[in-house]
Structures are given as C-alpha cells and as structure tokens.
C-alpha cells in the first residue's frame, strides 16, 4: 500500500442474511477505491446505497463478506487500525445520562493508552471549536439533536486524529450549523487531517470535497475528482434561437457540432439569441436522469 493512502477499500462485498426463508441481500458488490491522505473525500449515494455499511466495515463494526478495508495499512478487523481515527456516527448514539464534560472525559480515558504523552486539546477547547462552549455541565439527554451532533463531533476530534470519518455529519443541523461544520471540516483539512464523510446532500459535498466516490445499489459508479466528473458532462451546449416568431432551444453535444449547428441556423435565417456550454451541478450529473423520470 502507498504510504499516502488513508483508507483502501479492496473488492469489498457484503451480503446480509434476511432470516431463514427470505434468503440474502447483497449490500455491497466489489467496491474498490482509495482515499488518499490530506483529502476531503465525499462518499455519496442515496439512502440504502451502501455508504453506512462500508463505513461500518471500515470501523470494525461489521465484517466483510468479501474483500477488505485497510486503514493506514492495517486491516480494519484489527482494533489497532482505529488508533489514528476519529468517528462521528450517523445519529447521536451516546450515553445520555452523562454531561458533556463526563462524556468527553470518558472518550478520552478509553483512548488513553494510545494517546499517552500526546498533547491533546482540552474539553473546553473542543466544545468551543464545535460551537457549544457553555454546555459542559449539562446532561446530554437535555441536548437538541444539533447539539448532540456537535458534541459527537467534539468526541471524534478528542484524540487529534489523522483521519476523521463522519457518517452524515450535517444531519440534524440547521443551515447555519451546516455551514459552520463545513467550515470546520475545511479547517481540519488545512491542519493536515484527512476527512472522509458520507452524505446524500450533494451541495455539501460539492462545496468542500476534492474527490468523491458514488455508490448506487451497493456498486461503485464513480470515484475521482468532482471537476473531472462535471467536465465529462460539460460537452453539452445549449443554443437559444428565434425562428418563425418563436423562441426555441436546441441542445447539441460537442463544441464543434454546436458551432456547426449555429452556422446552420444562421444560414436558414434563424436569429441566435444565446449559445454556450450547459453547466451541470453534481446533482444533475449523478441524479439528473432519474430526476427527470
């Protein structure tokens, strides 16, 4: 494995047994891709596409039926693979009878053997970082969903990890909170951390990720740079023209073909109002056709 690889998914497959009589259901089919160190990597897919299953296998919560996941070169079934990892689960599954300070102290103490001698941020610094500085003595059961998400993020950062894995980190947050978390992820990345996060909110991914992997029904459909994906779909040109008193639109694939179409329109006396490439968002590219159906 390259020294620069943070997570490597190799031919990952997972089949869930659905009871004695109903057979089995494949959740992941031969998923392979790498997450390089220092990246903000977005893990995309609709609900049920297999994102959370992949993350669970990467963190040792579930076993793979086929293939494996390595974190910093260590198989994910080995607890040591999680030594440099911070994890925020999809929902705030925490011990709600603890207050925020106790919660963070607990998570600090169970990592103590691995973090011995490491200079780590204090609880108050972490709570301040995630935007809830004054809640240290409050029980988690009295927290709102957004506050739980933030304290969970503080827990994920408690060991100053090299890799932060977040499963739907924006869920439960209001628009301001989402923007704050996005900014925090960018800041963490600037500080040298690798960020791997799953989301089905494409605008969040598009705004901060350098690379993405897109899963559909357990299969990897795309892995690479967002720009490359968008560029590959930007060969389409739109021509708006007026002919016979009506405003009409024509979509042409390829720049040269589009130029030829414009000349043809001119030659038959049509008035070309506008001509240019169609700009696609990530949502258009990944879900556009389905959305249209």
């Amino acid at each position: 494995m390259s020294d620069q690889t943070a997570i490597r998914f190799s031919g990952l497959g997972k089949v869930y047994k659905e009871g004695l009589w109903r057979g089995s259901k494949p959740a992941l089919k031969d998923v392979s891709f790498d997450v390089m160190q220092g990246q903000i990597f977005g893990f995309l897919g609709a609900n049920g596409a297999g994102k959370t299953t992949s993350i669970k296998i990467a963190l040792g919560l579930q076993s793979a039926t086929k293939g494996k996941v390595e974190i910093f070169g260590i198989d994910s079934s080995d607890a040591r693979s999680r030594a440099r990892v911070g994890f925020l689960p999809e929902r705030p599954y925490y011990h709600l009878n603890l207050n925020a300070q106790e919660f963070l102290n607990f998570h600090r103490s169970i990592r103590s053997a691995h973090d011995f001698g490491k200079k780590l941020p204090g609880n108050q610094d972490l709570l301040k970082l995630v935007g809830i500085p004054d809640v240290g003595s409050r029980l988690l059961r009295n927290f709102s969903k957004g506050m739980l998400q933030r304290v969970g993020l503080a827990q994920a950062l408690i060991s100053d990890p090299d890799l932060v894995i977040l499963d739907e980190p924006m869920s439960g947050l209001d628009p301001v909170g989402r923007r704050e978390v996005r900014n925090l992820l960018v800041d963490l990345n600037r500080a040298g951390k690798t960020i791997f996060f799953s989301s089905h909110i494409l605008s969040d991914i598009e705004s901060i990720c350098q690379r993405i992997a897109f899963l559909e029904k357990g299969e990897l459909k795309y892995c690479g740079k967002i720009d490359d994906l968008l560029e590959s779909h930007s060969r389409e040109y739109e021509i708006l023209y007026r002919e016979g008193g009506k405003m009409l639109r024509m979509n042409v694939s390829g720049k040269n073909e589009a130029k030829a179409a414009v000349e043809k329109l001119w030659s038959r006396g049509a008035e070309v109002e506008s001509f240019g490439p169609v700009h696609h968002s990530l949502e258009d590219v990944l879900f556009g056709e389905k959305g249209a159906r």
């Binding site: 669970k56 963190l59 040792g60 919560l61 579930q62 076993s63 607890a79 040591r80 693979s81 999680r82 030594a83 990892v85 994890f87 689960p89 929902r91 599954y93 925490y94 011990h95 009878n97 603890l98 106790e102 607990f106 998570h107 103490s109 169970i110 990592r111 103590s112 053997a113 691995h114 969970g152 827990q155």
Partner: protein
C-alpha cells in the same frame, strides 16, 4: 488495558445509577422490604422468622430483578440503541468493552444488594431483633446468585435482542432455581426424551439452589460454612464461562 476496562466500568456505573427505571426498581424493593416489617408486626407468633423469611425473599427477588435489568440495559440495549458504536470504534477490543461493562454492572448490583441488605438489617434492629447467625453469608450467597444472573444476561445479550435475552435469562433463572427437580426428572422421567432433556438442562444450566440458604438462616439451623467457598468457586467459574462465551459471540457479531 486495565485503565480502559476501569473507564468503561466507571461509565457503566454512572449510567446505571442515573437510570430512572433502575432507581424506581430500587425504591420499590426498599418499600417491599419495609413491608416485611408491617407483616411481622401483624403476627403474634414467630414474627422474627416471618420477617427474615419475607425480607430475604424480597432482597433476593429485588436483587435478581436489578441484575436482570442492568444486564440487559448494559449490553443488549447498548447494542440496539447503538451507544456501543462510539466506544468500540476506538482502538479497543470488544472483549475489553464487555469486561468493563460487566465489572461496572456487577459493582452496581453489589451496591444495590448492599443497600437492600442494610435495609433488612435496619428493620431487624428496629424490631429489637439481633442478626441471625449466617446473616451476612446468606446475603453474600444471594449476591453471588445475582452475579450469575448478570453473567447470563450478558451472555444472552451478546447474541440476541433485549427482549429475547431477557426471556432466555428469566427461563434459565427459573430452571436454575429448580435444579434438583431436574435431577429427579432425569432419573425418573416418563419417557427417554424427557429424561434426556432434563439431564441436558441439569448439566447446562446454573444450579442456583446451592445459593439458597434462606430457610437455614431464618430458622436458626447451623449454617454450612463450606457452602460459602464452594458457592464462590462455582459462581466465579460460571461467570467466567459466561463472559468467555459472550466475548466470543460479541466478537463475531455484526453490530446493527
């Protein structure tokens, strides 16, 4: 490793002593033992025996219920509610998690049991009665029994849902409490199948009757001291076996 287990145990303790349902169960148990005082004052003869008999039964039942509840909440519900996620995704083994949870839970059960025992002793003192010989030993054997129930609850929780785990644990508890009857059925059962099943249950379920010396103490009969040491060894071996099997099952289990 020891520090991690201690931290998980301490967290388990904090969780449980702040659990509202557990606190309600404990208060109800204290009231139930208090009721034995009323019962004893209503009788003219042998009020001491009635108080001890009812009090011991109340302590045993309440501690057993507490152990069952704590065992299920500490393990099965942690898995179902996924609070286990934030812990086992740290660089620690599931065995360390399970061991820490068990030790924390066992400490809570012991503290609850001690509270109930002190309550019973207080009532005896209120009635001007002295503590019977073997009082502490009887309560210690009861505590060992509750730890076995806790071990069973952990074992069942390691491979099944909370409802199923509670059901199996209660069934094993009831079978364990009538272990000598199983032996009788194994010897004198009507069909070979019944005899085989009884023999299987006799050997693979805990013999909880060996922890019951309530009548001996309540009726002032001589307490067999060797029961204390054999009971301790039996409970330690049984709990260790439960925990080893739990570690095996939990280690292999896909978390939901």
């Amino acid at each position: 490793m020891a520090g991690v287990i201690f931290a998980i145990g301490l967290n388990s303790w904090k969780q449980m002593v702040r659990d509202r349902v557990f606190c309600v169960v404990l208060v109800a148990a204290l009231l139930m033992i208090g009721f034995s005082y009323l019962l004893a004052t209503l009788t003219i003869v042998e009020s001491r025996k009635i108080l001890l008999d009812f009090g011991f039964s109340a302590v045993s039942m309440a501690s057993g219920m507490a152990a069952l509840y704590i065992g299920i909440v500490s393990m099965a519900r942690e898995i179902e509610q996924r609070t286990i996620y934030s812990v086992v995704t740290k660089p620690i083994s599931r065995s360390a998690y399970l061991l820490g949870k068990f030790l924390g839970s066992a400490a809570v059960v012991a503290a609850a049991h001690l509270l109930l025992a002190l309550n019973l002793a207080g009532i005896l003192w209120l009635m001007g009665e002295s503590l019977p010989a073997g009082f502490a030993s009887c309560l210690f054997l009861m505590l060992l029994e509750t730890w076995i129930i806790l071990g069973l609850a952990f074992l069942c929780s390691s491979f099944s849902s909370s409802v199923l785990a509670a059901g199996i644990t209660i069934a094993l508890f009831l079978i364990g409490r009538s272990n000598s009857s199983l032996l009788t059925i194994a010897e004198k059962g009507l069909t070979p199948g019944t005899r085989a099943l009884a023999r299987f249950l006799y050997y693979f379920t805990p013999n909880l009757e060996r922890f019951n010396v309530r009548d001996v103490v309540a009726y002032g009969r001589p307490f067999p001291e060797e029961m204390l040491w054999t009971g301790l060894a039996y409970a330690a071996a049984f709990v260790a076996a439960c925990l080893a099997a739990s570690c095996l099952f939990l280690g292999k289990r896909d978390l939901p």
